[in-house]
Subunit: 161 residues, 2 copies
Amino acid sequence: MERFMEQALEQARNAEQLKEVPVGCVFVYRGDIIANGCNRVNETKNATRHVEFICIDQVLEYATKQGLNYKDVFREVSVVVTVEPCIMCAAALINLNVKEVIYGCRNDRFGGCTVVDVPGLLKTKIPIRGGVRADEAMELLKEFYKGENPSAPVPKTKERR
Amino acid sequence: MERFMEQALEQARNAEQLKEVPVGCVFVYRGDIIANGCNRVNETKNATRHVEFICIDQVLEYATKQGLNYKDVFREVSVVVTVEPCIMCAAALINLNVKEVIYGCRNDRFGGCTVVDVPGLLKTKIPIRGGVRADEAMELLKEFYKGENPSAPVPKTKERR
């Protein structure tokens, strides 16, 4: 999954240019990336447009175009995301019954796997693994928030994630 | 809020006709309903299309049409929903900083206010009140699930909510 995380990090770097919180993600299905993106909260003026929701919509479109049942597709999707999904996104991914979730750095305030154990609460057995290239993912966040507020080296303000 | 809950219950009754899990909702802004609906999970084939997300999108459209900042609008929105929001939806509503949430019956499996205290975890002060016409809301759920599985009088299967 290392190379897919590189793709997710690339998406996070794009986010930074777009002045979005730098979180990137790819959804992998049978070895191929079928969805990718970064947060779109500022662009869409919609605080729920975290990257996971952007990618979920792309998968639904993909399934329709390919004439596949979206539930079958999600069951084989590996979610590779640079930052631990927030509570909302963790619940959404578990609702969709994805194959696995691989994330980079932790989300210390709103993390849906560590701060709140959403998978445990929803009694899912979906494998979840964090810490993949975590330092690079965290560095992007720190840089982003530092630009906003020099006295805040870690993300504590702005959009909740 | 009693009369708005009646409107939400009416939406839930519509859901049942559409073979969606009967959960209805209205969003109230300055005394007017600016968004309403029911779950659209089956119709859209998207497990994240809970009624709260349907209404969120309507508010965004409303704000754009009225030339208002969506954040200002959400700050004055009372969410009136027949069933306690799930974890995903509770997190979304808190992200959007709505004025208050009023719900009918509890969601004993995935409730984002009782099973998991999402508002507490996100350190919000948004007032949340449950139990408004709870029996009627629960009755609709029971009827729906009974139709699917006569041996399951309470909602324990199908879509997670």
